[in-house]
Symmetry: C2
Subunit: 133 residues, 2 copies
């Protein structure tokens, strides 16, 4: 069975920028992206930010808020940018998307003191990765 996700055909700029982020081994910052795609005709910050906004919205990439950087989503179970969790190494800055059914279930069902549930969350764990320990 195929994915339930709606198919989003990316536009030219979105595709260029997604491809770059997707093949990067680490989160990319907006101006690093800009520098890399200038040879492809994307000249201005706003062109990059617009594509990034859209890609985040449709869940193709995620923003690592504590780093102002973007990574491709490699987690088919993540609910289109609504429920994200990452581990971040404080030495080498390696970022990995966490895919844990238990964690997502726990957080999706979490209610605060007032019994309020939330439609969206972002979780960032910090520590040392295997190599840096």
């Amino acid at each position: 069975m195929k994915t339930m996700h709606k198919e989003h055909t990316l536009t030219k700029n979105q595709q260029i920028i997604f491809d770059l982020i997707d093949k990067s081994s680490e989160p990319m910052k907006a101006y690093a992206i800009l520098f890399n795609v200038q040879k492809k005709g994307i000249k201005a910050p706003l062109q990059v930010y617009r594509a990034l906004d859209k890609l985040v919205e449709i869940g193709k990439i995620h923003k690592i808020e504590s780093r102002n950087a973007f990574i491709a989503c490699h987690n088919s179970s993540c609910q289109v940018a609504k429920a994200t969790a990452f581990s971040i190494c404080e030495i080498c800055e390696k970022v990995t998307e966490i895919s844990s059914a238990g964690l997502s279930k726990y957080l999706a069902n979490f209610k605060d003191k007032d019994g309020m549930k939330y439609s969206k969350y972002n979780l960032e764990f910090f520590g040392l990765c295997k190599k840096c320990r």
Copy 2:
């Protein structure tokens, strides 16, 4: 020998900036802080950022990463900036620190696929607050 747990007496700038954030009903941004404390002699962004860094480090305030803003810690059980959770209203931008023993326990003990535990985390929930629903 001195005590192991150093008492963090705030310096002049730190105290001025902490007081401002502490009495604010909403998260404050660095340049809003700067504007507010200029009459007290703090003139430059760096003076603000240095105080903010220190206050975050000692756990008196927290940074809301998705908003680039700072709020005072009102959660005596939060482990000095090591384990933070917030709810954020996407309409009115009200931010509340979440104090849930269950949540902190779950996250503090969370292990990823490789069995790795993390020394620190930050969680931001998004949704609509009571008033905005």
